[in-house]
């Protein structure tokens, strides 16, 4: 079977869900004839027509709100943010209306908001963001952020089938760089379950999205150069978070490094650290430490962006510090 890119895997997931369930439809800017800024929705218009692949005006609040209304009525809308940076334009309706709908009004909101996220692409401050932490603090939403093509497909299908609103972050650096053979058949990955990307015994790196690959690179280097056995846990789902998998890896290696691309202050690593502190403190042999982006807006110039974002050598350095602790 042919290898499939991360991007193509998402498209396959959308395609299959739209085939399977006529209540699924897509909305977003330039997603129809143009196929989306990154071509994730290419071909959907031809197959499903303009009523199910709707090109919207530049109105994030408008079509995310409309998605909520349609979801109340039994539809399963999938909204594309052209870049996830623009989800901020729908922040109010997502956090105030969508996230509270079930709780306050007993209205279901089975909808997905998805879009290209993340940096390492010289996109500058408005085409590189990782705003997942801004929504982690909103009960009523779910958040997933896959790192592999297989998970991208399995999770978009789960997100569409989920009875609540799922924010589906796609890492644009991975879109065409990551390829693999996908499982056959109706491949669904459950929301809320982490994945062991690499098994090890000396130290755990807990991460998600693009930095999973940097963690794996670092693990390989540490194995060769230091003889260290590194476990890499790919969270995949950020809300809900897989506490069981986190605790299991802490108990196994007793040393934890958390890595994410989002800025460090208020980032998801803080929440993970708190959970480890509460659930597995006595299993730790070293303090939990974080490698994440510096607390600045993401700059454009390669020299600056590479300084702000976590890099493989950073993970190596941090892991050595932890291993020696």
């Amino acid at each position: 079977m042919a290898e499939v890119t991360y991007l193509e895997a998402i498209r396959q997931g959308l395609f299959e869900e739209m085939e399977r369930d006529p209540s699924v439809f897509c909305m977003g800017e330039d997603i129809g004839a143009y196929g989306g800024a990154f071509k994730v929705t290419e071909g959907l218009l031809d197959r499903f027509g303009a009523d199910r692949v709707i090109d919207t005006p530049i109105s994030e609040t408008g079509f995310v709100g409309a998605a909520a209304g349609a979801a109340h009525m039994g539809m399963r809308p999938v909204c594309e943010m052209q870049f996830i940076d623009f989800v901020s334009s729908a922040y109010s309706i997502l956090t105030n209306y969508v996230a509270t709908a079930r709780y306050r009004a007993f209205l279901p909101c089975p909808m997905v908001v998805r879009g290209p996220s993340g940096g390492y692409v010289r996109g500058g401050p408005f085409h590189s963001q990782n705003p997942e932490a801004a929504f982690l603090h909103t009960p009523g939403l779910k958040i997933v952020y896959p790192a592999t093509a297989s998970d991208a497909k399995g999770l978009i299908k789960s997100a569409i089938r989920d009875d609540d609103c799922v924010l589906f972050f796609e890492h644009k650096y991975l879109y065409r760089r990551i390829k693999e053979e996908l499982p056959q058949g109706d491949h669904v990955v459950p929301i809320g379950k982490a994945r062991l990307a690499s098994e090890g015994t000396d130290l755990s790196i807990i991460t998600y999205a693009a930095t999973v690959w940097k963690a794996l690179e670092a693990a390989e280097q540490l194995r060769k150069e230091d003889g260290l056995s590194i476990e890499v846990l790919d969270l995949r789902s950020l809300l809900p978070m897989d506490d069981e998998a986190i605790v299991a890896t802490v108990k196994k290696t007793n040393r934890v490094l958390i890595v994410h691309e989002d800025t460090v202050t208020g980032g998801i690593a803080g929440e993970i650290t708190a959970r480890i502190n509460e659930l597995a403190f006595e299993w730790l042999d070293a303090p939990v430490r974080r490698v994440a982006a510096h607390d600045v807006p993401l700059p454009y110039a390669p020299q600056l962006e590479d300084f702000v974002l976590p890099q493989t050598p950073d993970i190596v350095r941090a892991a050595r510090w932890l291993a020696a602790y």
Binding site: E29, D30, A33, Y34, A37, F38, K39, D55, P57, I58, S59, E60, T61, G62, Q82, F83, D85, F86, S88, S89, P116, Y120, V121, R122, G123, G124, P125, F126, H127, K172, Y173, Y175, R176, V264, R289, V291, A292, H294, D295, V296, P297, P299, Y300, A301, P302, Q303, L304, E305, D306, F307, V308, L309, Q311, T312, P313, D314, R317, A318, W321
Partner: protein, 367 residues
């Protein structure tokens, strides 16, 4: 695709501009076009790091409208308003350094393309990518003029696409209610990325939105630089008199894609070529200058040559500009502290990696 010409000025009137000023308009339009052409070369040489945005065929909108401003007035350009920034005093060298992510670019490598400003002297403000957001910002800038009774005005551009945003609506409504000295220009180039204006808004004339805000709305031929100047000049004068906001819709056409990677597969065959042939703002203006103003073709060629020299010189300088110092990224998030410390795993390290990959694209396409 016919452009409304009902509001075009009487050609003979030339809007009160002197011959020298008429030639200046030509210079700014030529400079805009040639500078973008140079950027295309640099982009192909991978010296432009991120995306490249063109205003080919729209130069008259930006140049003509900005020409109606005084130095103390504040301009808020959008991605296709390079020409307006040049008129307001931005230099080709700044633009080149910015696109090339140089350490001495106006944003010191932090922002891309023409996302930069100068509010200390030349008075243009750096935009963000979220469309429509500059309208409320400019409402606040011009509210300040009114509160301080300064005889200054603001000019903000949006595209046809941004008129669909909540920010546009909220901003223009607030400015109208407050009688801010603000001119809002909708540069209707018929496409927002791939989306035609007909899919953006059900109203035929975007200028008609003005009625809902209780302000005048006018439409003009955006490919006629004199018409763009004149309609803006009148709105600016009105704002300066304290009569509030005017909404202007300039009709034009985007001949290049949203950005350089966009192959415009969604554009009907022949449409771009037709506009290029029949309604190019520079060609039209050159014809007008030679036919009606007695300008010799050699005079225009002299301007073209001057523009080429200026761009060559600026390119040489920009190429020599240094890359940013990596650690400069930590400075300036707050007034105090002026610089953030590097994170624990980066202590004492100057640069995180030796090699700085330049992705072929930011993932928007394969090439």
């Amino acid at each position: 695709m016919a452009v409304t010409t009902a509001l075009a000025p009487d050609p003979a009137a030339r809007a009160g501009l002197s011959r020298e000023q008429l030639l200046e308009l030509y210079y700014w339009m030529r400079l805009t076009r040639s500078l973008e052409e140079r950027l295309v070369n640099l982009y192909r040489q991978t010296k432009v790091v991120g995306g490249l945005f063109r205003s080919l065929g729209q130069e008259a909108c930006a140049v003509g409208s900005a020409y109606a401003l005084r130095r103390e007035d504040v301009l808020s350009p959008l991605i296709r308003n390079l020409g307006s920034m040049l008129v307001k005093g931005a230099s080709p060298l700044e633009v080149l350094r910015q696109y090339m992510a140089k350490g001495d670019s106006p944003t010191r490598g932090r922002e891309l393309n023409i996302h930069f400003g100068d509010m200390a002297d030349r008075n243009f403000i750096g935009q963000i990518s979220h469309l429509g957001d500059m309208v409320p910002v400019m409402a606040g800038v011009t509210l300040t003029f009114r509160l301080r009774q300064e005889p200054r005005v603001g000019l903000v551009y949006v595209g046809d696409g941004a008129t669909s945003t909540g920010a546009f609506h909220e901003g223009i409504n607030f400015a109208a209610v407050q009688r801010c000295p603000l001119v809002v220009i909708i540069e209707n180039n018929r496409y927002a990325y791939s989306t035609p204006t007909t899919r953006q808004c059900a109203a035929e004339r975007l200028a008609d939105k003005a009625a809902g805000y209780g302000i005048p709305g006018v439409r003009a031929d955006g490919n006629d630089v004199i018409a763009a100047y004149q309609v803006t000049r009148d709105a600016v004068a009105r704002a300066r008199r304290g009569e509030g906001v005017t909404l202007i819709e300039l009709m034009t056409y985007r001949r290049k894609g949203h950005a350089e990677h966009d192959n415009q597969s969604y554009v009907p065959a022949g449409e771009i070529e037709r506009w290029a042939e029949e309604n190019d703002p520079l060609d039209r203006y050159a014809r007008r200058l030679t036919a009606e103003e007695g300008v010799a073709p050699a005079e225009l060629e002299k301007i073209d040559a001057r523009v080429r020299t200026e761009i060559d010189q600026a390119t040489d300088l920009a190429e020599q500009s240094p890359a940013p110092e990596p650690r400069d990224c930590l400075a300036g998030v707050y007034a105090d502290p002026a610089e953030a410390p590097a994170l624990w795993y980066r202590e004492g390290i100057r640069s995180a990696v030796e090699r700085h990959e330049r992705p072929a694209s930011w993932g928007t396409h394969d090439g």
